[in-house]
């Protein structure tokens, strides 16, 4: 079981079954990526492996970010699949880094994830957490049907690896129907939004019992 309560204090997040996939949804600039990174960093801190599939930050920046989030991280605990398509030659130490030609190259992303999981496994990581940032960018490269299926198939792969996954989506960038479709590919959802009077709040849906109330984070 995975316990995410040190990142987000919700009872519903205290016992996440391996193989679960969680959608992190919220408007632009509401801290979705921060939250996903924190969930991975918390795992690294506790000895889990971490895989980041990124369509925005470059692999080098992601590795740097995690080195500063978890100062005693062993690079071999981290895998990055950089989908920006610019190759990239930044030094990334011993992290398991793979480059993919575009966020629409699903087979390439799958191969990258497979290699990262293999690298992490060989480095002795039996558990782990994967973050995909972001589905909104993928949705500009390929249609919602393909993204839905991709999420479903990836969840199944994470299930057999015993990992959990968090996937971010910008709720303001898509119509209601698209959001409803994408949600169905996940076991649960963390909703984030700006709170009145500053700061942010979140709620958890679908992981354990009824949806929670909004709570300041």
């Amino acid at each position: 079981m995975y316990d995410l309560t040190s990142v987000l204090e919700f009872d519903a997040l205290s016992q996440i079954r391996p193989g679960s996939s969680i959608l992190i949804s919220g408007p632009a600039m509401s801290g979705k990526q921060r939250l996903a990174y924190d969930i991975l960093a918390d795992g690294i801190d506790g000895g889990d492996g971490a895989v980041v599939v990124t369509t925005g930050d470059g692999a080098g920046d992601v590795v740097e970010e995690f080195r500063s989030l978890v100062p005693d991280m062993n690079d071999a605990q981290l895998g990055v699949i950089d989908c920006r398509g610019d190759g990239g030659d930044q030094a990334v130490g011993n992290a398991h880094v793979h480059h993919v030609s575009s966020p629409g190259d699903l087979t390439g992303i799958g191969i990258g994830i497979t290699k990262a999981l293999e690298g992490l496994h060989n480095a002795g990581n039996e558990r782990g957490r994967l973050a995909l940032i972001s589905l909104s960018t993928m949705l500009t490269y390929t249609d919602k049907k393909t993204v839905f299926k991709f999420c479903h198939v990836l969840s199944s792969r994470l299930d057999s690896a015993g990992y959990i996954g968090v996937f971010t989506i910008d709720s303001g960038a898509h119509d209601d129907q698209t959001l409803q479709v994408i949600k169905q590919a996940f076991d649960g959802m963390i909703d984030v939004r700006d709170a009145e009077g500053g700061g942010r709040e979140a709620r958890v849906l679908g992981l354990a019992g009824e949806p929670t109330d909004w709570q300041r984070i």
């Binding site: 191969i111 497979t114 293999e118 393909t146 991709f150 479903h152 299930d159 057999s160 479709v181 169905q184």
Partner: protein, 207 residues
């Protein structure tokens, strides 16, 4: 086409059964015959001695291609490339004399078999590739239901949804299909399943 003079019925000779169709592309006749013997009880088998012949025998009906990598004329890799260009949706297993490394998946094959191949290994591979295709069509069906459900959710109020039998029924079927997808085929079991399934998605997208 074949017309039976006595009954007047018309049959298609190429594909006169509901069995899945396996195309064997192999230049060594003995080896090809052996595969055929092993497979013909359960599948309709087509045989080609080289890449060009293989491409001729390939059509929508073919589910799985067993492709020898080292052949005179067109190589297995070249044949694969042309198969993918034609977007037929069949699954391709490469048959090779050496144990390949990871790059096989990147090259676009869905599975590989290294020689010498045993009967049960061959069956296992073909069955698994057929399962992949079944998984794809289930996933497609599942998506269609999810999309319908989402459309209702996006266009009707929660009061209207609570009253709607159609919505109830859809929700139930979505839940059933989700279980079916994870149980019946055991989900995604290994790396080649994972990649082969993803490759299928990108191909659907191109259609």
């Amino acid at each position: 086409m074949y017309v039976d003079m006595q009954t007047g019925t018309v049959e298609t000779i190429m594909s006169n059964s509901d069995l899945p169709v396996v195309l064997i592309v192999e230049d060594e006749p003995d080896v090809a015959e052996t595969y055929k013997l092993w497979l013909q009880e359960e599948y309709e088998v087509r045989m080609a001695q080289n890449g060009d012949e293989g491409l001729d025998l390939l059509d929508e009906a073919v589910d799985v291609v067993l492709l020898d990598r080292m052949m005179p004329g067109l190589s297995g890799d070249e044949v694969l490339e042309r198969i993918r260009e034609r977007d037929l949706g069949c699954r391709v297993a490469m048959v090779t004399a050496v144990e390949p490394d990871f790059d096989i998946l990147e090259m676009g094959f869905d599975a590989y078999l290294s020689k010498p191949i045993r009967s049960e290994q061959l069956h296992e591979t073909v069955d698994n590739l057929l399962d992949r295709s079944e998984y794809d069509s289930l996933l497609q069906e599942y998506y269609a239901l999810v999309e319908k459900q989402a459309t209702l959710e996006a266009t009707k109020s929660s009061a209207e949804l609570a009253e709607s039998d159609q919505y109830d029924e859809l929700t139930e079927r979505v839940a059933e299909m989700r279980d079916q997808l994870s149980d019946t085929l055991g989900g995604i079991e290994d790396d080649s399943d994972f990649i082969a399934t993803l490759r299928g998605l990108s191909e659907d997208d191109n259609n």
